[in-house]
Symmetry: C2
Subunit: 193 residues, 2 copies
């Protein structure tokens, strides 16, 4: 790891072998908030490593199938609570076009639909864009209280909605901070009652 | 139809043959807001009748599969817009545990996740309970502006969440208006960011 990355405060361990995620994490000096992504492959074949990783992170981001598999529990809210018992105090479950859930180990819960996009060309990268928007907002705010986490989920949702609007990186490269903030406002309005 | 029902103002035509829904509707004197439910069977086999019905109603409530089938369109927001062109100025699309969408022909949109229930015993009746909560709230308010429609969707969501919490009518019979209002508040909080 390049020296200048070692004092990163907000760290996202993208999906790879948990042993490699641990190796990366151990090179960091004093991160403030560490989130990791994982997948079915590691849950099935490298569960011991994944469990070691989970004790070292603050937040696990995974999709609904993976959450059910990891927790051995169909209900996603209960699954999130079970995953928190394995280490991370925050669990984010991505449900694709059905939105996402974030739960904190104190029981606080936030549910958000996906942005109601009418242009969906390619969902590839939606999950990583979500994580990027989520982590980027937290790092920008330098806070991880639940109100900030909720807003970070909304930013992740909006960033992902731009990613899926076109192929490859085209959806994102056309996007400005102003577009993102404007869609965030729109989404906030669309869920308000 | 019993005489005393004929001046009903808020009318829900539950799912049955569209020809029968029209027959019922024609007996009403001057309804203020008419919603109808439908299903794949009528979309496939009785589309002409269903189209006649759609010209007479204000709101169509249907699930996501039915919406896609009726509009011949995968994207649900676009599907709702297409359905509005067939008559109803309001379309509600139920997505089960993924929540619901309501769209008005002026383009206003509201998206709501399902209530994040941890106890789900039997989804039977969730759709009709949703419609009941939705229509009951509108009738109680005697209004159908979009702000009221959004709140009606939230009431429908909450009533359905009680239905699925137990078998048969047990979930509903244990429910009071106070429980419903308290869960509505909870849901409002859970989607706020």
């Amino acid at each position: 790891m390049p020296e200048e990355y070692k004092d990163s405060k907000f760290v996202f361990l993208a999906n790879t072998a948990p042993i490699l995620q641990i190796y990366l994490l151990d090179q960091l000096k004093k991160p403030k908030f560490v989130a990791a992504d994982t997948m079915n492959l590691w849950i099935n074949n490298n569960l011991a490593d994944l469990k070691r990783l989970m004790k070292k992170i603050d937040c696990l981001i995974l999709n609904e199938t993976e959450a059910r598999m990891l927790a051995n529990e169909h209900n996603l809210i209960t699954a999130a609570a079970k995953i928190e018992k394995l280490g991370p105090s925050v669990v984010v479950i991505k449900k694709g076009e059905s939105g996402s859930i974030i739960r904190q180990s104190d029981g606080q819960l936030f549910v958000l639909p996906a942005y109601p996009a009418t242009i969906v060309k390619d969902p590839t990268g939606a999950g990583d864009s979500f994580a990027g928007g989520f982590m980027g907002y937290l790092a920008g705010q330098n806070k991880t209280d639940f109100a900030t986490l909720k807003k970070a989920v909304a930013y992740g949702t909006v960033v992902a909605s731009f990613t899926i609007s076109d192929f490859s990186l085209k959806g994102l490269t056309k996007t400005t901070r102003r577009n993102i903030d404007s869609r965030l406002k729109e989404l906030r309005n669309q869920v308000k009652f």
